[in-house]
Symmetry: D2
Subunit: 160 residues, 4 copies
């Protein structure tokens, strides 16, 4: 049995000057901004931009975060953020993230891909829960069944 959709979503960016620090590398907290960019673009690709989720009163704050830093990114590097839905339920979502460096010649458009490629710089993951505007947990399968269906599609084939 084969999967219909590759599991990792890629999003490309260039390191901004402002993201460096005086060690001449990217300041470590910025990788976590990139994790978020990757999640955002994955959700957009699924068909439901995060902006619309918020407009419907659904927030998805980070409740857990872990990360390993193998090698630093540097100013002007071409970066690929790899993101996939690692786990989800009616109440939570867990994303897996990788930051990889790409050569100028390898640059491809963002999209889904089977297997991460490129030099691994940072890996990690974040766990999120669905809450409403008052920060009370909500059951997304009930509040937004269309969104839940999209997550099922994105998470298909992921071992529970």
């Amino acid at each position: 049995m084969t999967e219909q959709h590759p599991r990792w979503f890629t999003h490309r960016l260039r390191v901004r000057y402002q993201e460096t620090d005086q060690m001449s590398v990217v300041y470590h907290a910025n990788y976590l901004n990139w994790f978020e960019l990757g999640r955002t673009e994955l959700i957009r690709e699924l068909g439901l931009p995060y902006r619309e989720l918020e407009a419907r009163g659904l927030l998805l704050p980070v409740v857990e975060l872990e990360s390993k830093f193998k090698a630093p990114a540097r100013y002007d590097d071409l970066i690929v953020i790899w993101t996939r839905v690692a786990e989800f339920s009616s109440l939570m979502v867990r994303f897996e993230s990788q930051i990889r460096r790409e050569s100028e010649t390898d640059a491809e458009p963002s999209g889904f891909a089977d297997k991460p490629e490129g030099e691994l710089l940072v890996s990690g993951g974040t766990k999120h829960i669905w809450v409403n505007r008052d920060w009370k947990p909500v059951r997304v399968s009930k509040e937004a069944p269309d969104l839940y269906a999209l997550l099922e599609q994105a998470g298909r084939g992921v071992p529970s």
Copy 2:
């Protein structure tokens, strides 16, 4: 005739590592964050924290900004933000800001002072207008006369 209140308010901070860039100096946009910190602390000192203003539905966005950069601040420097109300009306406020470096031995508590001291690094100013939550201009003398009275006190002696 002497003024009862010195015109400049001082607020001290240390340069954070995250505020540096790979030129080994503070990234220039961060000075504008410091301008804001200075304004915030001045308003707090006047007796009406910005948080309370927002709770009352008053916002004070920046509409104009200008700045000159004389010398860079570096990691771990002791910085004094000098701020004063340069001009105000019922509709707007203009602040004047200076960023100065201080030696460790000169460190004094934050407060009002007559005349800026220390090595001048950055000078500038910001103009703001009062708006409500829908970003419509409001007349602060009408909407919040208590606040307006505080501004009159802070701006006393400033040439119109």
Copy 3:
């Protein structure tokens, strides 16, 4: 007589969640990061990435900055940064910048364009001087004549 190269360079980005503040708009200092992105991408397009300039010991710090904020950008907006060389000499460069909002359907690739289009949000400019690694001013026409020639090309037609 017509110019061979349009004067404004455009670079597109999407507003990141991290760039918002609790007024639900982009925090004002972030527009200045975008100004820098626009300058960086213009310089890259000219054929000499800023990374290479730094590798040759040339830095281009901001010495003056001014900006007007007409309307706020919001999360997930599609933004176009418009940048052009407004003035330059052997010792300095002045850039002019505009931040404009674009509709999803208007999105075009980055490149040169004759005249800014889209809703104007922020306009401004920055003045820079060329310095070496010890922050001493350098004459770029002497230190890097190839770079100077590129600036002459980019600034062509700009009144001195």
Copy 4:
């Protein structure tokens, strides 16, 4: 047997406007900046500012990071960063960090304290390795025995 030095070091700050996002809470990556501030101030208190370490060619990049987010901090909150040396060897240091909210009336100067107090918002830890300017691992007990002695003092009483 009693310890001579309490194990947690406290450092106070106020939430900056720029640290909020449009959820009206502190953007999650900023807590990691605060973790760093706490580590920096602990090291300063030990008698060897990080700035001096860098001047001696020693860098201490983050290699692992984990964090749990219990409750959000909000604009203008009074925050206490609690930091302690959880583990160290000649090659690495591991810090434990907590972000807690404090009431205005509880505010005390920064310093060492026996046991974390206040409302817990975020907890986590970071692992670091000592490297030189070329990012090669160094043995700090050899390269900087004075620093190593300070770490032994700070980590005293911590179960291995």
